[in-house]
Structure formats: C-alpha cells, structure tokens
C-alpha cells in the first residue's frame, strides 16, 4: 500500500480546508440544508440546557471526571481490562488503526462471518474498518439509519450525530432504490424511507453472526460498556448476534457508575436536545443464555497517547462526541462536514483530527486549526468545557513550526513584530501607512493586488487616517 504509516483519521487526498470550503460554499442547496438543520438543533439545545439549573455545575463535573480519567488513564484502563475479563469478555489492545483492523477481521473470520452488522461506530470509521473488512472478504452493514445512507451512497459522513445531514430525502430515496432490492416504487416520504430501511436491516440483524459496535462510555469499576442511541438498532446489534466486538477509543472511560450519571445528563441535551436519549444499552461481559456468547473489546490508541502528551491539546480527549460544537459553529454551518476531510468535522474535528493524525507537515491537517474565526461559540456549548479556541491557537503554532522558516508569511510576521516591538519604528511605519491613502477613493480602498485581494474581493478597506491618533495627541497635547 505504501501508505501504511499514515493515520487514516484524515481522508487521503483531502484538499486543504480553504479549497474544500470553497467547493462546499458554492453548493447553495447544501448551505440551505445546513443552515436550517443547525439552526433548529441550536435553538432546541439551548432550550434543553436552560431547563437544568445546575448545567454549569454538570459541565464542571464532566470536565473534572474526564481530566481525572486522562491523568490516570493507565490505572483506569487496567481496572477496566480486569473487570471485563472477570465477566468473561476478552480485551485486545491496538496501538494503531492497522492493528485494530487486523484484530476485528481475525475475530470476524474466526466466528465464521462473511457479513457483520455495525452500530455507533465513530471509532471504526476513524480507523477505516469498513474498508479493511471489505478487503478481507467480510461485508460490513451499517445499521444506524444515517450511517446506512452514507454507506449505501458510497459517501462520506458529514456530521458526528447526523452523518447524512447533507442529504435530502429525495437523494435518500434514490440511494435506497439503487441499493435495496424490491424498492422500485419507493417514494421520498420519511415514513416509507424508514420502513424500507427497517425491512432491509431486519434481515441483516437476524442473519448476522457478528456485530461490531462502538461505545459511548466504558465504566472502569465494572467493565461495563455503554451505548446511547435514538433508533434501537444498536440494541439489536448488541443482543442478537453470537459474537459482539466493541471497538473503543482508550479515552472513553469513566471511573464509576456514579460518574456515568453526569454524562447521561450532559450528552443527550447537548447532542439531540433531548432530556434523555430513547435507548441506553449497557453490557458487561457475557451472560450464558442471554445475548452474545462471545464479547471482545478492542481498545484503540491510534494517536491518543501522543495527544495525551500535550498539556494544551489533551483536553480534546475529553470529547464525548455530542456534536454541539458543530451545530453552533459558523464555519461548519456554511461548509458542512466533508470539507474537514475527516470523520471528525467541525470545531472538535479541527483540533482532534490533526492531533490524532499527528503530522503537521501534512498540508490538509495543518489547515484545519485555521478553519475557525475563534469566535468561541464552540467552547460556550461544549458539555465538557473543552477550550477549543485555545487548542486551535496552540495547534496553529504547531502548524507554523512545521512550515518552512522563511515562508512569506513568517517573514511578514517577523517584520511586523520587529516594527511593533519598537515604538519609534511603529510611529514611522504609521506615517508611511498614510501613503496607503493614495490607493483609496473617498477614504476607501476597493481593490488591492494579491494577497490583499483576499480582503477586497468582498469588502472595502478603510484607508489609514490622515493623522493617526498618536500624532494628533502629540500635536495637541504632547
């Protein structure tokens, strides 16, 4: 493959963000869909959150619990492993995507499966499991409705919670008709679409020997794994097949059941604006005569311990994938998720993908931390108080470090710093800047050569004032 060293957390061949964003911005339908969808969920979330008088307290608890987990991750992971094993589960450790994929493929084959049903599988999307399974002769079937749409459409997800947010129902009907036998007369009525998916999935649930799931939380004290969802398909995956393989990032732990309580309040309100999600499934090891006979847990690192090493950046690992930050982000709202070129889009994607990928020499990864105006709306809503703007700025510094030392930008920044660090130099520069008035008409500059054109293509620029304030002060008061 020649590319085995690359962490698949960012999609191979993705252009840098500004380029991808330009394409997305040109799609009026996409912008309208997104504006509508994010606007709606934003208002609903604000309402759901406002109902809880102790919301800030909950956020602080969420932050503190996750920070404790991250600070003592080794201890909690060992406790978790012990508890899982004590209940008859088998724990596998995977350093990277390739290892994780190998383990899952081997387990699926050992169970004699040529098809697996899947649910809640962000982590498996991160490691590219579907592609790996397919290459190994095992067909993965996504059972979350939105993920199924993405899969059948040979598409990529564009939202953490609603991966098919960019698709409208007519497109969905066409995707279904092409991929599901017996759907020739399907209309684009949501009820019909849901029924078609349901019939399709039922057959899969009943025949699949193996299920692969993700996990929202792992409880260290008992070795329990938790999935929260809206459709109930997850529950089918978790209970019907003989073998259950859960793929989970190592950061998803909470120490105790009592800690879980905090997140079961934070998550639904932040993500779907619901007081409680419709289905919460918890499973612990295996129980003879009930549910899967074999339970395997694959604990995936894939860049997480490296991320943990950064004091500023590690807070990204507190993320509980609620997607609240996506829904408030003005950049996401206009570009959609695919422009980020990763399964993790939006503000969290902009700080998580480059860190898990770990290579700021990659132009695409290095462009992600700049895909923000630093407006701070993401931090404001994040249920675990990830200071996304600060992490963005921290990663921007990393991106700059990885760039050639003498790029035009670096030289410009150094020159401006030098000028501004010397007050006399700065005053001289201000006097020079007045010459900029020559470019203006009526105090406005309407067109500048590149790169200034990036500004003046869509907005005017004021000319520097005839007399700066400091010159005025000096003249009249100094």
């Amino acid at each position: 493959m020649g590319d085995t060293a690359r962490n698949p957390v960012t999609w191979l061949g993705s252009p840098a963000f500004p380029t991808a964003a330009k394409t997305a911005l040109a799609d009026d339908q996409l912008r309208r869909n997104l504006k509508h969808a994010t606007g709606l969920i934003r208002t609903k979330r604000a309402g759901a959150v406002a109902e809880l008088p102790d919301w800030e307290q909950l956020r602080l608890s969420g932050e503190a619990i996750k920070d404790d987990v991250l600070a003592n991750l080794d201890t909690y992971l060992l406790r978790f492993e012990e508890s899982v094993a004590a209940r008859g589960g088998t724990v596998h450790w995977a350093r990277d995507a390739a290892e994780a994929n190998e383990i899952v493929l081997r387990l699926a084959r050992e169970a004699g499966a040529d098809e697996v049903v899947k649910i809640k599988s962000m982590a498996t999307m991160e490691i590219g499991l579907n592609e790996a399974l397919q290459a190994g002769g095992v067909t993965p079937i996504e059972t979350d409705l939105a993920e199924l749409i993405v899969q059948l459409g040979n598409d990529r997800p564009s939202h953490i919670l609603v991966p098919a947010i960019h698709r409208n129902r007519t497109e969905i009907r066409d995707i279904f008709k092409a991929a599901m036998p017996g759907t020739e007369d399907l209309t684009d009525e949501p009820v019909e679409l849901a029924a078609a998916a349901r019939a399709f999935l039922r057959r899969k649930f009943l025949s699949a020997k193996v299920a692969v799931s993700g996990a929202n939380f792992g409880v260290a004290e008992t070795g329990s794994v938790v999935v929260v969802e809206s459709e109930g398909n997850g529950r089918m995956c978790l209970t019907l097949p003989e073998t259950l393989i859960t793929v989970m990032g190592i950061e998803k732990l909470v120490p105790t059941w009592q800690d879980l309580e905090v997140f079961l309040q934070l998550l639904p309100r932040s993500s779907t604006a619901e007081r409680m999600n419709p289905y919460t499934s918890v499973w612990t090891g295996v129980t003879p005569g009930d549910g899967p006979r074999d339970f395997h847990l694959v604990l995936v690192d894939n860049g997480r311990t490296d991320t943990l090493a950064s004091t500023v950046g590690r807070q990204a690992l507190r993320c509980i994938r609620c997607s609240a930050c996506l829904n408030v982000c003005p950049v996401y709202e206009r570009t959609g998720g695919q422009a980020y070129g990763s399964v993790y889009p939006g503000p969290i994607g902009a700080i998580l993908a480059p860190q898990l990928g770990g290579d700021m020499h990659d132009k695409h990864a290095a462009s992600l931390p700049f895909a923000s105006s630093l407006c701070g709306a993401c931090f404001e809503v994040c249920p675990v108080r990830i200071d996304i703007p600060s992490v963005l700025v921290h990663l921007r510094a990393k991106a700059v470090e990885a760039k050639p030392k003498y790029s035009p930008e670096a030289i410009g920044m150094a020159a401006m710093s030098w000028v501004m660090a010397g007050p006399r130099r700065f005053r001289a520069a201000q006097r020079l800047a007045v010459a900029g008035r020559l470019l203006s008409r009526g105090g406005r500059i309407r067109g500048l050569p590149f790169p200034g054109s990036k500004w003046t293509d869509s907005r005017d620029l004021p000319a520097p004032a005839k007399e700066s304030f400091s010159a005025w002060w000096k003249r009249t008061r100094g």
């Binding site: 003005p330 500004w455 869509s458 004021p462 007399e467 304030f469």
Partner: protein, 247 residues
C-alpha cells in the same frame, strides 16, 4: 459637572488598529472619560497587543509586543481599551506568555464596573443596532454592559440585531486565510443588519467594525459603522456628525 473621580491614573490603550485607522474612536474615548471626570494619559510608546501574531500561530513573535504593552502601562491604576478583543488578549493570554498585565478594562467594563455609570450623558439621535463582538461577548464576558450604556443614551433608537451573537466572519487573519468562508459569514451578517433598518451599526471593536463596515461600504448600504465610544461621546453640544464620503 463631575468632579475628579477616584480612579487613580488612567491610561488609554488605543490599539494599533484604532490609532492608525480610526483616530476618531480614540479621541472619543478621551473626550468621554474627561467628561466623566477622569484625566487620561496616553503613553506614546504603546504599539500593538500582539494578538494577530499569537492567534496566527506566531507565539514567540507576540512576546516582545506583550512585554512592550506590560512595560508601557506599568504603574497605571486602570488601562482603558476600546476593544474587547485586545482587552481579552491582555487579560487572558498574557499570563500564558509569562507577561503580567496590569488592570485592563474594555471601555464598557470601565464605565460600568469602575466608574459605576450607565448614563454617560450622551445624545445620539439615530437608529442604532449593536453587534456583540465574539471576544467581548465570550472571551471577556462583557454581557449586556454595552446595551445598558446604549439604552441610556438620549435620542437613540436601539433596534435588536437578528442573530446578533453570530460571528461577523472577521477573526483576524481568518478573513484572509479562509476568505471565502469569512465572506459568506459577512454576507449573512450584512443581511441581518439591513433587516433592522438601522442607520448606525455599532460594536465595541474596530476590527469587527472594519470588517462589517467594509461589507456595508461595498453594498453602498448607507449604514454607518460607528464605535460604541463615539456614540457615548456624542452630546447635544458636540454631536457625532455623519461622516462624508471623504475622511
């Protein structure tokens, strides 16, 4: 007439942008604070807070600028900044750069928290809409202080800006690095501003006002971007005058 207020030594940090491009704002701050009984100093060696460098990833290049700010304003009891963004930089980022800032206040904070005044005696007979800039809103948390000040202005017709808390798309170098997204955000902000029917758009940050003003000017919308300080400084005796085409 107000007497000398017990605010100690007050310095104005004009910020590089306002100093160079928008001297009217800085003059307005001086006029306003003097009217309220403060005596204001303007240390000549001030330049730039370093935010652009820091936020673009040039952390080390921001440090000398931060040090300059800290040393220029050392010894003042209050430093007043007509920019939520630069005030936020000094207050929240300087400690990370191991630079210890003095007491820095964004203008509305200084008026309400330090001077304890909401009615500054201003007169501004125009229809005004207010955009809370992201950094004053979220980084500093000035809350409704600017609105309280505006509500107390005589003659002023305050109209609510739809989706007020959405970013205008400026974001410093973001406006250049992601020019297309920034322009799309600006376009939406512009349509909200036009919906209000206001003839003045105000905010506490000239950087965002420069961005939005650039959009308004391109649209020839006839809406004037005016910094909060200029509204608050305007009185019946010395009213703000609509800028002519030339400055």
């Amino acid at each position: 007439m107000p007497t000398e207020r017990a605010t100690g030594r007050v310095a104005l940090f004009a910020t590089c942008l306002t100093d160079t491009f928008f001297p009217d704002t800085a003059r307005a701050v001086v006029r306003l604070l003097e009217r309220l009984g403060c005596s204001v100093e303007f240390p000549q060696d001030q330049t730039c807070c370093g935010q652009m460098h820091f936020n673009t990833g040039y952390r080390a290049k921001a440090v000398p600028l931060a040090r300059n700010v800290a040393s220029v304003f050392a010894g003042y009891d209050a430093v007043v900044v007509p920019s939520g963004s630069c005030a936020g930089m000094v207050r929240h980022v300087y400690p990370d750069l191991s630079v210890t800032p003095g007491p820095v206040y964004e203008l509305s904070e200084f008026l309400i928290d330090v001077l304890g005044i909401e009615d500054v005696g201003a007169y501004f007979p125009h229809r005004v809409t207010y955009h809370p800039t992201c950094h004053s809103l979220r980084m500093l948390g000035v809350g409704d202080k600017p609105l309280r000040l505006l509500r107390a202005v005589r003659g002023l017709d305050l109209v609510e800006l739809p989706a007020a808390e959405s970013c205008c798309g400026f974001g410093g170098t973001f406006a250049l690095k992601n020019a297309d997204v920034s322009s799309a955000m600006l376009a939406d902000k512009m349509s909200c501003v036009l919906d209000t029917g206001a003839d003045v758009l105000t905010a506490g940050d000239n950087s965002c006002l420069m961005h939005m003003g650039g959009g308004l000017s391109r649209l020839q919308a006839g809406v004037h971007p005016v910094h909060l300080a200029e509204i608050l400084a305007s009185t019946e005796e010395e009213p703000w005058v609509t800028p002519l085409a030339t400055r």
